[in-house]
Point group: C3
Chain length 270, copies 3
């Protein structure tokens, strides 16, 4: 994607440990000239959020005062995706006090979505088939952001019914091609009025939610499909990459990337 975005040189470094990351950051800063600092940025990808977060910390320890380069964390596209989802949902209404459910939220995208929704004032439940994994994810969210998110097990149809009880917003954050919410289940709820699904690969996460829906109204509901979310996600991603090279001191993690997503979403709307 960095190549798509027109970055001149992309140097992939695989299997980077925290110690490697420190060294890479150190050499990015101290082997090069101060005037070149803004021409290089570090992008933390991979698929494990704990590893990505440890990498970001290790990178920070290599910097000294203004001797630093910009850094972006987006492992598995977690921040750009979560920022796009929450910005889209936020654009159709305040989240303060709203009850939200993040289905299959233990992955990077789910955890970041839960944290950003909680930060907007929502009461967030994060589900998993395995309660312990849900708890671990909620604790990790809290440890990083101070936001409380409630864990919930969803390993049967009755459990999903319970979890959706009173929920107003539901985001399906599961793996591609895994169905999480049957049409009957979502239709049955009287409170639900925003549904979003990040999975574009059939079967969809939320059965019947057209991936191209970009906030379409069906009855009382607003629907956000994976392709519409991905379109904003891509714009956010490109805007972030561009931001990285404007200065040498950007740190783009969930919160900063969310601000960029909100700006872009409001520009689109206007």
């Amino acid at each position: 994607m960095a190549c798509d975005a027109g970055i001149d040189c992309v140097l992939p470094l695989a299997g980077v440990t925290a110690a490697d990351a420190h060294k890479v950051a150190y050499e990015a800063v101290f082997s090069r000239s101060p005037e070149d600092l803004a021409s290089l940025a570090l992008f933390i990808g991979g698929s494990s959020l704990p590893v990505a977060e440890a990498t970001l910390e290790a990178i920070e320890t290599a910097f000294f005062g203004s001797m630093r380069v910009s850094v972006m964390l987006d492992c598995g596209g977690c921040n750009t995706t979560a920022a796009a989802v929450v910005a889209k949902i936020r654009a159709v209404g305040e989240l303060t006090g709203r009850r939200a459910v993040i289905l299959a939220g233990t992955g990077p995208v789910g955890m970041r979505t839960a944290a950003l929704m909680a930060r907007e004032g929502a009461e967030v439940a994060l589900t998993s088939r395995d309660l312990r994994r849900a708890r671990a994810a909620c604790e990790a969210v809290c440890a990083r952001t101070g936001q409380r998110v409630w864990p919930a097990e969803v390993s049967s149809a009755s459990m999903i019914h319970d979890v959706l009880e009173g929920a107003e917003v539901v985001v399906s954050a599961g793996a591609p091609g895994v169905s999480l919410l049957a049409e009957a289940e979502s239709t049955g709820s009287r409170t639900l009025h925003v549904l979003a699904d990040v999975n574009a690969v059939p079967p969809l996460g939320i059965d019947g939610l057209d991936p191209t829906f970009a906030g379409e109204r069906i009855g009382e509901r607003r629907l956000f499909g994976a392709l519409a979310i991905r379109r904003l996600k891509k714009q956010v991603h490109y805007a972030c990459l561009s931001r990285l090279f404007e200065r040498n001191d950007q740190v783009l993690d969930a919160e900063q990337i969310y601000l960029i997503a909100r700006e872009l979403e409001s520009e689109c709307a206007s």
Copy 2:
């Protein structure tokens, strides 16, 4: 070579397993926008043909309908080299019914050359110092293409004499700097009328075959040296790379690459 050919970004990924390959292909397709699919292609290199073929299969399983990117397999330059050799030989005459010998043919280049010649109707023998390796290579060719190729052991001067008995075409496909056919042996044959050698590093695979020969006639014979073959191979390689980015659904393996080689060879001739 992709850099030489002017590809904007080349991201080398080393030590890729089949599982990695699936993931890379998946992310190349599903993390990016549909409109960007043709801007990225996967190139399978490496030196092991079985690994390359397993990688191609793993990549194919990640694609879904039109959600795919173009792929080229050319491990160790096997397809572009074999395509160039066979296109050059084919350009000086039909291969149907001809007896051909691929010397030291158990490597990727040899196996692809044998398969393409067999597909053109030749009766192909593939040699090795070790009969079991020759058999394994022939079985692999047959498993992939359905073409029958005959294994032959060549571990002595008398054996090469036997193998060349009645052969009309011989291709030396061995490692660089390994002599496979002495001048006396080739000169002795009455039936041989096409000789080609892919090894440009002295000692040559076919003693006395000038690497710059591009189909030169010596008596009844047409001779193709490694540098002449490599010139066409490079054109084929560049044409394939260019083809990869024209659409997002190309799969360039032996057969497709051979068609491109034949087109280029006939353009040169005309």
Copy 3:
């Protein structure tokens, strides 16, 4: 840095062994066209000088006559840094017969600095906290260049006093952020008249030596700080990178890089 310098494609290869290096060099030469040889060059980085030197040797064995590509060795920036330091010091006076001390000189930068100063005729001592490491470094310098360099242990204040006795030039070549010479110690010497420090990260290697000093005179002394050295180092690095692609037969190691540094330093001075 190669990206900063405008190189079109930079392909990082990690964890390269001598066997890998041979193969990479072989394929850089023999898979590509002779007319493309000057468009690719090999850069040996990493942090271990013995590994870098073994890599360079392995690469050389892959070349054949004029079939070669240009190569530069600069592991940990050792050659460009050492060349810049010695060129700057040499520019303010002959080194023949001068007594020089390389503090903490067992790393790549220290060893290359010691070798280049010895080659200019200086009597060079190379220090370490550990005498055995100092000895090993001096032996490695001698094995490669034939230049004798004297090992010295510096593990206490009195030892540094002894080592500086009669020294005219001191170069601090230690790790970033490690103080090696207190202000009182350097001020106390009557013979010292050139001081240079390659460490720009506080605490500096030589206490009180302003990193921006580019040969400033303080009393009888000429002072070279890390930022000034790094400025020339960068010019040298860029000039070398550019040189690599002018022809296909450059081998840029300490001596060749030093010549380039001297040219650039004299251009700056004039």
